[in-house]
Symmetry: C2
């Protein structure tokens, strides 16, 4: 189990590796990474020890080996299928975000109760009516739902998801969901991270 | 300075207090909070010691006093003004999210370079053309920009923000931004928190 601060740094290193690969650069040094993220070089080297110094070579690290090692360490290789429930602004932004795929999160489809949204395609994914969800959960064996409905319908939709055998709810709504112990809720709180940044940096 | 895990828990406690106030309930006990979040009661009590046991009474805690104490501890009272740059799906979802206000983040306006979006109102906030940003940063003394443009225009827009005297960039794009040492970048990485949840819970 990796501490949260380390996995956040590893995902940032991963973005830099993706950028270097796109630019055709094959090696990178730890001071270059430290400089880009505004952190200490010793922190970068400590993190890479965790990766058993994957890709270490004479001039630094091989970008491709580092990327592969980060993906393995963070469990990217085990892809996890998910549905987005609530195809509004936030739901659509998440459906369009291709980086989820490279982290092992595979969004298969979206759901909504607004008839005007049904059958629209977003980034090769279809928006289904919410009544179709139980059948698709069963047929595709999906366990994760990303909840992006308005606050006032969050609890009722969560109850419906639980009845449909969803095991994990990544909750973006501000509602605190009541669920049985067999279901895990992951509360996403963008303000949590904003406060962290603001407490640290804003004088 | 509060550790990230604690500030994330405090923001969740805050959501529960808001819910109790809306339901007209004046007191709450630590086992009730622990149950709602699926965490240990001793963890809740430890966190409340940090708040000097604000609101403690015979039957538990006074909801209103706890909420006020959490807000003071997390720095909600110091409101910070911000602009959203990029009024697409994600930018609009953030502009509509009223919870930001109760955490002390005051989004004043949005910006975009698409002429069809200019002058639209979202949640009482106006979308301006990006060329108007430098003048408004100066006149309103705004220091924070929330960056929600596509990855390929992120660096160029960040350069423009820095020239306009923006000091903090809350970066939602997957691009790793190159900025001078006088500017702070806060990388928001939803995958960082997803991986945390998934590593912990998914067997
Ligand atoms: N965690 C954060 O920091 C953060 C940031 C922004 C928004 N949000 C939250 O995300 C949620 C979505 O925000 P948004 O701006 O996309 O809202 P939105 O109104 O644009 O989208 C909500 C969608 O849910 C659909 N919907 C409503 N009831 C439904 C139901 N019973 N079944 C299925 N679909 C239903 C609507 O038709 C709509 O398409 C809100 O709860 C908002 O508070 C959270
Ligand atoms: N951090 C995360 O987990 C996460 C999740 C979803 C999306 N994203 C990222 O957020 C960003 C926005 O996503 P979206 O779905 O809202 O995209 P979008 O295409 O819907 O919106 C982008 C907006 O930026 C505007 N824009 C483009 N170039 C601009 C410029 N030079 N100046 C001003 N405005 C400009 C466009 O007109 C558009 O309105 C993307 O970079 C995406 O990768 C991140």
């Amino acid at each position: 189990n990796i501490p949260e601060k380390v996995s956040n740094r590893l995902t940032l290193y991963h973005s830099i590796m993706v950028e270097y690969i796109e630019a055709g650069i094959e090696t990178i040094s730890s001071p270059q990474i430290a400089q880009r993220l505004g952190i200490d070089d010793s922190q970068v080297r400590k993190d890479f020890k965790l990766l058993n110094n994957a890709g270490k070579c004479r001039v630094g690290y091989m970008v491709k080996d580092l990327k592969d090692s980060i993906e393995k360490t963070l469990g990217f290789s085990k892809t996890k299928d998910a549905f987005i429930v609530g195809s509004g602004h936030l739901g659509l932004a998440l459906a369009k975000y291709d980086s989820f795929n490279s982290y092992g999160l595979n969004i298969l489809a979206l759901f909504d109760n607004d008839p005007q949204k049904i059958d629209i395609q977003v980034n090769n994914k279809q928006i289904f009516h919410i009544s179709k969800l139980p059948n698709l959960v069963q047929r595709l064996g999906v366990e994760i739902a990303i909840l992006t409905v308005p606050r006032q319908s969050a609890q009722q939709v969560a109850d419906f998801l639980i009845q449909s055998n969803i095991k994990y709810i990544w909750n973006f709504t501000p509602a605190v969901l009541k669920v049985p112990p067999t279901v895990k809720v992951w509360n996403e709180n963008l303000m949590g991270s904003f406060l962290q940044f603001a407490c640290k940096d804003i004088v």
